[in-house]
Subunit: 345 residues, 2 copies
Amino acid sequence: MKALEWTGDSLKILDQTKLPIEISYRNATTYKEVAEAIEKMEVRGAPAIGAAAAYGYALGALGYPGDREGLQAYMDGVQDRLSETRPTAVNLFWALRRMEDRLRELHETTDLNEIRQRLLQEAENIAEDDRRVNRLIGDTGNAIVPDEANILTHCNAGALATVEFGTALGVIRAAHQGGKKIHVYADETRPFLQGARLTAFELMNDSIPVTLIADNMAGFLMQQGKIDLVIVGADRIAANGDTANKIGTYSLAVLAQAHGIPFYIAAPTSTIDLKVAGGQEIPIEERNPNELREVFGIQTAPADVPVYNPAFDVTPAKLITGIITEKGIVSSPYSVNLLKIMVRS
Amino acid sequence: MKALEWTGDSLKILDQTKLPIEISYRNATTYKEVAEAIEKMEVRGAPAIGAAAAYGYALGALGYPGDREGLQAYMDGVQDRLSETRPTAVNLFWALRRMEDRLRELHETTDLNEIRQRLLQEAENIAEDDRRVNRLIGDTGNAIVPDEANILTHCNAGALATVEFGTALGVIRAAHQGGKKIHVYADETRPFLQGARLTAFELMNDSIPVTLIADNMAGFLMQQGKIDLVIVGADRIAANGDTANKIGTYSLAVLAQAHGIPFYIAAPTSTIDLKVAGGQEIPIEERNPNELREVFGIQTAPADVPVYNPAFDVTPAKLITGIITEKGIVSSPYSVNLLKIMVRS
């Protein structure tokens, strides 16, 4: 089961809002549909959002009705629409910039169909890179996983959050496939329940032992010595190592430190944003209050209760044991070491 | 709206599992119905469970069909049934012991109806004591609440968790009624959603400003300086001050300490169990895994995912700034000061 797949003329998007109860797809044939799927979190997870946006950009070019002269202005509009879907995950902007750069390189090309094919190829490259990078993250991260380990993860940084294999769950998958005795605690990750709906589902499909807990149980598990390691994904990593990830990550990092438990981020280098100096500069998306007043449309709180619903939080670098990337594991001092890894080919 | 009310011949129990969507009651006319209501969490919250069990015991005597000779053995059975409903909150056992003591004091009384009336009177006394005690907790606790404060609370330690007024919410109510500018963050408290369903509802009814958050947002709020104070209830307090309360309380206590935020417990002295030396001796109830696989009967996770569902955790005394009781605020060293307050009349 894949989060997204190019069919030849459309992007087939698994609707993750309905998992695991219903397996349904959206066949997006326009960039607007892709933008809507990202906004509604039908496709989510920083690397998957990046790849989906790249295909969305290509669909924009494929559907462009005008002549060569008007293409750039039209594609700027496509890019704007895709950019405004979600503010925190930087992979979205990274992928769109890569597509934009490719288009600008083609400024002397007058054949619209050639441009369209080149942009589609670039989207395919982005997706293929993500597949490769996730495998590398898995192999790299496997080094820090003990032969037997109870691992806590948050949200879903799995195959469903990427094009394939996953980041945090990629490390877990690689360790499991390598014969290590891994057991995962997945916390359900309110309000969107990515842990309950996606991570539990994905790990069960791969026969990796998993136990579901509520978000508020993590501390109690740590107190009882039931967690050896925490691995989560990332939506944006600042130049100093501060990391934005799904709301609740920061609490887990504080709890892990209080219990002396290693706390790792697993993410591709496309998640690292050197233009952002520190976590306080990362924009934090706030989502619809109804996400906390309802579950699957069923009311769970007073209908008019005021709600605070940030989708992400920022974990300061000092709480992070290491950042697992496709180019190796980065550790403190992050300001120096993130820069080093970004210039390494 | 009251959690429980004696009607003259039955115990009217507000079914809190359906709040705030539906306001419905169970009219319990037998001790078995009261036991069932406690088990199913239709009535919940340590002090309310204690009072409900006392009325259940009285209903046992009122419904006793035999003669004086067989009464004690019958009531032992009633007590056993009520005792086995929930293991963690000590107020249940405290109230039942008080009823049992009262029955034993009447060993020379041969008039069954007099015994029944005396037992009913004792249940009324327990309920009346709880009303009085909660007001005192509110007044006492008000002393530690700043004139303006953002207060985080967990689960529901409100009027709905007691006979009236509440413990943690009693303190908040007293501060609000005293003219302080109070704003409450209520975390939703998975899996049973007492924060979303009960605390938000109760505070809105009293026009006390409240904002609902997911459990995993508490750390992020603290990081942003949005929390001045944490106040929660308790289900059992050990002789050394270790406190069992709703799952998630321990995580909040660790987070509060990491951010230098005062962390208070509010509870009647009937919650203090000097027979239990430390938290590791407090039995922790584990509940049905389906509570984490479903919300209001709607599936939210793979139907067969393994689940860990402890209903409580234990916060070590060292993380607790103070315990607000009807006899005053107890602080460290708890082993000495809890003993002192228990012998004080």
